[in-house]
Symmetry: C2
Subunit: 354 residues, 2 copies
Amino acid sequence: MTEPLQPGSVIGILGGGQLGRMLSVAASRLGYRCHIFEPGAAPAGHVAEVLFTAPYEDEAALRRFAEGVDVITYEFENVPTSALDLLESLKPIRPNRRALAVSQDRISEKAFLNDLGLTTAPWAQVDSEADLRVAAEKIGLPAILKTTRLGYDGKGQARLTSDADIPGAWAAMAGAPAVLEGFVDFEREISVIAARGLDGRVAAYDPGENVHREGILRTTTVPARISAGQRSDAVLLAAKILNALDYVGVMGVELFVTRAGLIVNEIAPRVHNSGHWTQQGCAVDQFEQHIRAVAGLPLGDGARYADVVMENLIGADVEKVPALLEERGVAVHLYGKGAHRPGRKMGHVNRVSG
Amino acid sequence: MTEPLQPGSVIGILGGGQLGRMLSVAASRLGYRCHIFEPGAAPAGHVAEVLFTAPYEDEAALRRFAEGVDVITYEFENVPTSALDLLESLKPIRPNRRALAVSQDRISEKAFLNDLGLTTAPWAQVDSEADLRVAAEKIGLPAILKTTRLGYDGKGQARLTSDADIPGAWAAMAGAPAVLEGFVDFEREISVIAARGLDGRVAAYDPGENVHREGILRTTTVPARISAGQRSDAVLLAAKILNALDYVGVMGVELFVTRAGLIVNEIAPRVHNSGHWTQQGCAVDQFEQHIRAVAGLPLGDGARYADVVMENLIGADVEKVPALLEERGVAVHLYGKGAHRPGRKMGHVNRVSG
């Protein structure tokens, strides 16, 4: 399928969280309908035509889902491989499997980036406590040990500040393959939200400057405080990654800005929290851009026409909503989730100026 | 119910067309879910939690719909009275019945506006061919004869240029009560999209300048080419109407700009096609503003931060979409309808600048 999806076509989305929800809304603006596949609670189902509630192991449900859609995309990178194998035999999956395979495994990701000539934090594969001793010696401490797969928001991670931490850190991996990453002395964190169309054209939004706390994104500010050269380097680097993967869709590329240049922190083969500011600052936001790409439409105009600060509403932050609704120049986006709890992303706001 | 709707609450929308569709999306941004009631095809159902497909005469369906929602609003003013009577006994309806009653009948609307001291086109009630002769004499020709109820997009209308047109024009009404309206010599057409909250506060967007062709809106441009005094007059006039009706929600007020001042053409007790530009030019668009009002939330910031030209895609205009998707600064909004036909609103685009 290389022709654009006709209006009225159906896009299947794996994952029913806030990203799927905002993708579904963007798809509706282009005249498409969305079907969501999600084993758990699915706020995306509030704004989708059909919601499939079933585990990823339910082959019959996966088949019914695939039969009703024209193309499949996803809002998270850890979709089980067996589900992808089945779905791929039935309908196109965009972005492609290679992008998923690379980003599902920290070692594949780093090796892929290094092979492209891009700089990552120093790293070493760790499959035993003995490996960890060698890696700690080579990379130096402090460093952080992470399982190679399925880690997020600080889970499956252990920080090492001295050799005494080695046995405990290795034990925390519970025998899973791991990677030791050195710390990077960075000036700031930025990210590039870039898209590549079915025709191979690439478009990138202006890089945003990110602030994380406790491993979770708090704010993204555009414009980022970077030079014109850094901006151009960041965008070219992202384009290189997308082209190398023959990627179709939106990708988030997180970078550290250092005196020695840009270092790639990680890539996410999907719309990204640090791209939410595009909902207010651009004619075409990252969600519509992703839908355009997977539908085979031309990429849209991502030029920025306003300054924006995006702030996540995490856990009890959502109690600030009544005050935020009164604030001028603020766009509130809530995700339709139930009760808040620590670390749960409940919504975000975009503060617009200029 | 005067407390704001809690997140997760359900808003019922009567009518499942493009206005209901965009209202449902806006409600999702505020964490609400929407249920749609629509007898026919319902593109709003693609982005709503539940769709009820039933005629307005189906009392059981209306009851089930009302039981599942916290408040009821509507996307069109011609909801049958019997359905409203039943629904009102079960859940609050916003905007209120008076706004609907006034706007459902051209004579009620004009009398209401004149009683407020506002100017309308000259008009006369016509219940017979003899009435029409007297009215034509009083108002002068050319003039236009319209049924008092349920007319839209040029239906139920007859134009009179000389006395010879009188018998045919009266026959075209098929015995329905009618109103003869004199023509207004206007410089331009504008509209004010205004909102009133449950707390009585009023907010208005910058007036837009409208171009109609064959009785259908083609473009709205902001800013309108009017003076600061005209702008302020237009907004104050709209506020007067909303306050007089104890209105809750968004209203579209269409005005003629003449040398003698502003003349009210008509009012629509709902979000309005001429307010679609707010999707790109404002932190809070007309759809979210309406949801805020009916949910009892504070009204949002409607300040305009960009110049916008909204253009409707009517009938075969939708074939221009592939080219529009390539155009810079253009946001495309499609309604998810099936085949196009003459006069059918298929979508709109907002061209952003500044």
